[in-house]
Amino acid sequence: MSTATEPVLGFDEALATYDPVMGLEVHVELGTATKMFCGCPTEFGAEPNTQTCPVCLGLPGALPVVNEKAVESAIRIGLALNCSIAPWCRFARKNYFYPDMPKNFQTSQYDEPIAFEGYLDVELDDGSTYRVEIERAHMEEDTGKSLHVGGSTGRIHGATHSLVDYNRAGIPLVEIVTKPMLGAGERAPEVAKAYVATLRDLLKALEVSDVKMEQGSMRCDVNLSLMPKGSAVLGTRTETKNVNSLRSVERAVRYEIGRHAAVLSGGGSITQETRHWHEDTGITTSGRPKSDADDYRYFPEPDLVPVAPAAETVEALRATLPEPPAERRRRLQTTWGYSDLEMRDVMNAGLVELVEETVAAGASPAAARKWWSGEIARRANTEGEDVPTYAERLGVTPAHVVELEGLVTAGRLNDSMARQAWEGVLDGEGTPTAVADARGLELVQDTGALEAAVDAVIAANPDVADKIRDGKVQAVGALIGQVMREMKGQADAGVARTIILERLGQA
């Protein structure tokens, strides 16, 4: 494998000459309790080889039986993607020799996918819509996990041997394949990212998967080719594997556009191959040459009978589909009273569910948005996590936001104190009330102390006081600042203002 940096043409320069064509393949691990063809559990992070049986180990004589719920989930995914559902389809063996599959084949679907010919409308940042055509969504099974030992840092190069854990082998997957996406031009990276984000939201709403890209339950392969502007002939494509975050999808498309353009404009030609994405450096490197479908020697799986969902079954599943995310978003934006920009920020940060839960728990929409998109978003970004994952890991919940807002509306904390209390919550110091207690955050409710501070400040600033008496009310700001300093910040600035104005006859 060559890790030498390849030449890359600038993005704008590349797009002046070429039109990018993308195709995205997304693998989703279904959230079923058991595997696709056997009753082994699917818990993430279990001890190695504790979730296997003769079926998923490919032992002789073992017979697979299809997981009913996995088929239902696949059909619901197909319906949500506006696909037709096959009235009759089969599984197929995809033959290849690699230790991540103990059977020496992967049970998949080939020319008879359960769902085909659909689309997903994707909203872009400027509010416009790009329609992604879906070619197919088919059922298959996941592979085992290999650990390469003897080399450096788990890489295969230099490894002496590999250790395989088959817990993941046989977990149900649905692979969703787009048709070639044309005409996105300079917005190709944005379209790719928006598509994966929209698909993720849809799958989440369907409750068919936990769609955690960082845990591999949603994985993305990016096919990309360039064609000279004005041409209608597709160029040679590369397939960049395992692009496993939204940001990486955007970066990988951008990088491959630049790399392809550099090769093509230098008179070279693109090799059809898989490419490895390197999250740390943001580049791709050459992998193995792409196998032809012929090389997999697909044939119908003889151990499984066809899947033939009755029309009534399909319609019953259609009735279980949730509100489409785009409609839901519009409804929530209206309910919450957010501007377009506010709503987009909340969506892009993956905060919709969190805000929804927080509002349901009793917070105002404004407070929910404010607290989930402030300090915690900054910290999550530093950790390279999204806010919901980060919050879950920290044990910070919607109830904390509700409590924090309650402390503000009850007059115990002002905004700056509330921020300190929130930081304490994020630092693991407990609930907002516990943090406020421990840090001594409390607006002074004793108006006697506040009135004394006001009198002292007025006495020390006779000129300013006179101006206010003469009607220059805006000068009050200077006095409020001094009162707050006197009170060491532990007073309500609004109350201080009222008292000052009262004292100077402007109430």
Binding site: A33, E47, P48, C53, E68, H161, L163, R288, P300
Partner: protein, 98 residues
């Protein structure tokens, strides 16, 4: 059917991860060629009006509920493996692939 070539056999050997010497390749071209020729007889069957079939019985939708059944113990799962390490199957390294 087109004749099997030496390149075909070398390609198939690569997919099956079998190392064949030049002499073995030559022999396989001949032997596999004979087998293919014999099997090719089935292509003479009159199938123009016959639906393709992948399963002998006309049944569909054999499924099971999504209910966990006990897995093997890792000891049993690994019992037949020639080599194990860290409760995993130990396999030879795979060259130049990832």
């Amino acid at each position: 059917m087109a004749d099997l070539t030496r390149a075909d056999v070398a390609h198939l050997a690569g997919l099956a991860r079998i190392d064949l010497s030049d002499a073995e390749l030559d022999r396989m071209v001949g032997e596999l060629g004979v087998i293919l020729e014999a099997v090719a007889t089935v292509q003479q069957a009159p199938i123009a009006d016959v639906e393709p079939m992948s399963h002998p019985m006309p049944i569909v939708n054999v499924t099971r509920p999504d209910v966990v059944r006990p897995s093997l113990s890792p000891q049993d799962a690994l019992a037949a493996a020639p080599e194990t390490e860290q409760q995993r199957f130990s396999v030879p390294r795979i060259l130049d692939e990832e």
